[in-house]
Symmetry: D2
């Protein structure tokens, strides 16, 4: 299924008048509205291939219908999202769930939807049928060099697939850890991980990045070998210039100040990528901005400030991706909601008067500093985000159009009710 421009234009006609009024009202208070619109148009958030199906928990999974069963269908799904919101122009593949049999064909298909390929992801947290060694007790940190080698080889394989598709980064997320005191020698686990990553790093093309992800806990429940930003940064520093830390919003201990972490990683030149989701308790993987939208804005405020301080291009300098789970909602609609929330936070961050904020900070004017951020956060910037989308040919109300068109029903018709996407 492919959305044509006419369908979208027709939809927009219902809303455009109201939108124009809102946009005029909003833009008239903003000096650099056009500049912000430009940045919003350039900003894309990659969609991971495993987020297109229904997610679940260890207690089970309530399947949706019409899920994409093949890589081609996953690309189709992301294509639909991108047609609707013009901000989902890349897909992030997961190996071995999405091994492209014919890379050229897959690239061409993606290209027909205006999509590129974001970071490729390896999987050493599950055993695949026929696999020689088990990852039950870890992969890159494993005490057995044979297991480490298998995991290293897998990552090298993933890089090869990525090269074929035009990806420019490898994301390494490791479930490696321990569930009981005594199970691991922490130092040995760290050193093994470092040595394994070095092996993989050797195979990284010059224009690639390696993203070293961290996570506080789950699926291991006592320790994780790359558990926090400090451990990831230590590894990335020892690995070299192409290695970076990747921040996933759900991978922290309770109450962590993520925006500060982001800021310091940018300061060190070591923030590589970002996985968006939201959470209340643990790695809940909920829709971005659905629980703590102010935190999302504060993070974006640090991202914008930190990128600008180093001259990093907002659109291309870091890897942006959604990494959420859709246990209750239609995955595509949920992704549309996440992208919208992210772009709202980004737009608000762009609106921050950096000079005034700096002044307030220099005077320790806490009230004023708080007000500068809150004024922006309380501003309704949805008309800006919508205008950017409109100018690119997207839908003024992507969720409404998705529903109007009965897209899920069309997909069920095409694919059937019982298809299950690979993923968690």
């Amino acid at each position: 299924m492919k959305l044509d421009n006419q369908t979208i234009e027709q939809h927009n006609r219902q809303f455009v008048e109201k939108h124009q009024r809102a946009f005029s009202y909003t833009a008239e208070n903003i000096a650099n509205a056009e500049e912000i619109l430009d940045k919003l148009q350039q900003f894309n958030i990659a969609i991971p291939s495993w987020a297109l199906g229904t997610g679940g928990t260890r207690f089970g999974r309530f399947s949706g219908k019409g899920e994409p069963g093949t890589l081609e269908q996953k690309i189709e799904d992301v294509g639909l999202l991108h047609a609707l919101n013009r901000s989902s122009g890349a897909i992030s593949l997961h190996i071995p769930w999405d091994i492209p049999q014919d890379a050229e064909k897959v690239k061409a298909l993606a290209s027909s939807y205006g999509l590129g390929f974001d970071a490729v992801n390896s999987n050493t947290f599950q055993d695949q049928p026929g696999q020689e060694h088990s990852y039950k007790f870890g992969s890159l940190h494993h005490v057995d060099p044979n297991v480490r080698k298998q995991a290293v080889d897998h990552n090298i394989e993933v890089i090869k697939h990525g090269i074929a598709l035009g990806s420019k980064a490898l994301t390494v997320w490791l479930a490696d850890g321990s569930s009981f005191p005594g199970q691991l020698n922490f130092r040995e686990a760290f050193q093994n991980t470092l040595e394994s990553l070095k092996e993989i790093y050797k195979h990284l093309p010059d224009d690639w990045k390696m993203f070293v992800e961290y996570k506080a806990f789950e699926p291991n429940f006592y320790s994780t070998t790359i558990a926090d930003w400090g451990q990831s940064l230590l590894l990335a520093s020892k690995l070299g210039d192409k290695a970076y830390t990747l921040v996933d919003l759900g991978h922290h201990l309770p109450n962590a100040n993520i925006e500060q972490i982001v800021s310091l990683l940018l300061m060190e030149g070591k923030l590589g990528g970002f996985h968006f989701n939201d959470s209340k308790y643990a790695d809940d993987d909920l829709t971005a901005g659905s629980i703590k939208p102010y935190q999302l804005f504060l993070i974006f405020s640090e991202l914008v400030d930190g990128m600008d301080a180093r001259g990093i291009d907002h659109a291309t300098g870091l890897g942006w991706m959604i990494d959420a789970s859709h246990n209750l909602k239609d995955p595509l609609v949920d992704l549309l909601q996440s992208v919208e929330a992210i772009k709202i936070a980004y737009a608000q961050a762009l609106l921050v008067d950096r000079k005034a904020l700096k002044d307030a900070q220099q005077q320790n004017d806490v009230v004023r500093a708080q007000e500068i951020l809150q004024d922006v956060f309380r501003t309704d910037v949805r008309p800006l985000v919508a205008e950017a989308r409109l100018r690119q040919g997207g839908a003024l109300n992507p969720v409404a159009l998705f529903n109007e068109l009965g897209i899920r029903n069309s997909l069920i018709e095409e694919r059937g009710s019982n298809t299950v996407a690979t993923g968690l």
Copy 2:
């Protein structure tokens, strides 16, 4: 596979001399050692049928081998545990995973292992094949009365199975909740749950109890309809005298003082049952006592004190059960470790000098009160627990005997490598 007494006696012979020395040393400092030994012998912790297989997380599962594929094999497994430790004399079934086709035969089989049937558990957090209504959006709290009715009927069915087997309690754990703000009307969800529970309650035999379990989060990530002890107590109070709160150690927010909750529930006459496990981050379902053994002791100290204050029999007054997940260890060995840790905590709680503690409390002698508890906790009571086991014909070192005998290998031979137990 069934362990005979001779095997166990032979094993004990290796250890008995060393044990006797340790026991004498330990007992000589304890005035009421025999009384404590009696209580330890009477104390049993039920094993849930779903804890006999390998557990997993949403990221996957690394299967063990020789898992019990049928109810009969599950009973056999618990029989093995009970033969080894003499403290696992009951099994807690889960419907529909363990529907007994012929209750009398199943009872006889259990009886042949010295096992009884603990609380029966309903399951309305997963959909079963052929089920009319889905529990995706909850069960007893559901907005649709048809779904509620289906869930109520299922619980009534579970009670019937329980009656046939000689169970005396129904445990209701509900995953019902919401993952996004707005999804639920909290009051309506609570009232629906109350009405549904009332329906089930009507079908409860006079000598039965209903255990209303609570859990802070997971599998829902914004709200749970029975989220804490306050909500459970409110329901249990409105339901009537047969309804009680059930406490699972892993079901609390970070840093909760569980021992205080336990104490107050006992004060209110509303503590019904207890699920043991341990955790560091969330509902990690680790081996009891493996992370916070002092907390386990403090909880037992409150249990003993609170039961004694109300004249509740330790062995029979409350429902005791392990509810852990074994993602990395052999489930049977893990259960042996949990039982051992629980009995150690119980033995220590029995050793607390209640009169001295009361005196210290009356004088606000914080140092002395702390020392009374710490002295007991620092005492090595393993010889007491071992002696109680020995007197009942159990093994002095159950884990060692399990390994010596190659029990898992025997089970693999009997059952095969690829059996998978029902459960999480």
Copy 3:
């Protein structure tokens, strides 16, 4: 210092044109704008007398200047706030910090600023000079009946002061708890608390309420005797119809779903009062809405929904108060920021389309339910709040006017640099 209408009008003249444009734009999309404006005008949040000075931590305190040194000056401060925002029309006194020597005079003074007297607060968490018994080990829960009696008598005294001033509620916050395992018998502590509260309750006039506050931890670090809403509700239920639970936003364990608690307390008819502040880590007592503004909105959404379901008047049915600490900011400015954030959340809660939300919930349309709440939250309602303020004669921009007028400097001139307000 007293602000006259002219000063405020003059200030408003600078902003009124811009405001009118914003208000028109905002109101045109709202069917019942006038009704919402009415409610906003009626809504007042009490200011506690102890929030008018600089706060501190156990590590110290960096005093501000010109703090109110007497009850009369505290009333003057609240009068200033109310003149600016027209929403701070009540003051909540703390005994013994604010013992009114001449109640009639104090009432007349307050009345001259348009202020009434909110709940009175007792203090049994600190020892006062000359006090017979110490509260080091608690007050209403104390093992010594003499200490309990002293604390009960103090509360009765507080009620008398409240009657003289026209208060209608007593807030009981107890620091009672323990810092080490063993220190307390939890059941006895609970029963002592209950008996003490019963004594106080007897002296409560018929038209008064007793608010039983709870707090998870601090200043005790192992247990608090009234630690959560369940414990508070249990006490309030046993006490009688005039006893209610009071919720302070900062008094919960990490990640607690406060909005659900609020909803259930309203369902049970037992929510009495509310203390506003915000926090990231513990009871941080930061400005309302400064850290988790979406949570504040969600709580208000439940408050509005729950009050409407029981026909409770928004303005008078519950006790609303700010309870924050101002360690870094000017206390008066900080309070203005808190009131603004609270009114924004209230306005947004009033905007929620309850019928549409109900419909979405009945259909388990999670996406729609989320969007209904988010749409409102993303709407800029500041023009509504400002309009309500304007109609009542308040300042369009209270913080700006406070600064323009150099109010703090005037207060310093009046009161001196080294005055220190009583409080924490």
Copy 4:
């Protein structure tokens, strides 16, 4: 007041027979008992001068009596502790609370009690009378270079005092942070801190260490500029070989795996010092081992393993200190309890069979690894700790002797009831 050997010997006579029996029983199962006893005898934990008085919270303080009012009295107090337990042979001073007027005299006095001087501590989290610039908005991270200079100068002054007394380390704990989003530019705050620390570092003698402490939150409630081990390590690495990270057990986010952090810092050669206390909720500063004794053991297990791996001397290689607050207990008794708990944990860590643990880890034998640690933790090692103390001339039961001798009453007689120690 000074304890003579005779008093202690007399006390020991009551307990020695029972002790000998217990020690024989315990030692007979331990191959290297003498080696462990040696290490226990060499192990000392410094006492901070500010821990000798009653602590408090922002809600108040319930003073004890007979608190040390002068530096000399503080030394006397630590002397008493050391006489009792033979493990408190150093005192850690805090400037400006403990400025030694005559360093030689102070050294001689300390020496007469067998005490040395541990790390000196600077204070830039409070303003001192007459101070030119305020630390309200931070010190080393401050936007104003004058404030930074003042704080740097203070630290240099502290080093000078330390040199005079024979200290070999400076501990820098900074309260610097922010309480509201926007208040700080995180990067600038970090860079300012780094530059300030570099200035101080220049004045560090060659044989000194600088300990950079971190803390998650409090007294600032939104961000702390050195908030976690990653930030501290980053600073220490940039500063140079004499800079190290200092770990305080209470300074982490909920559920942090502190033992893993300790292990990695040792791996990096950057663990400098350790502050002991215990906590349930936040930086509760409770008695070491009073809440999570198993965690304390696990940390010691990593300390021993990590120090041995790098050939670090246990007694002298790292800075060991108690940093607790005594709000309810007699400070001296509380410190005796902390030292005892720490030595128990250390003794248990020394008992771990490292070879067996390594073997279990190499085989991923999770059960066995857990059992190795738990076996040790469940062993009653108090007789070992007591024997070490006895051999050094300490008391078999320090707390009992403290009470028997009525030491606090003697101190009250000497010092009076109303003395208040400087500190928190």
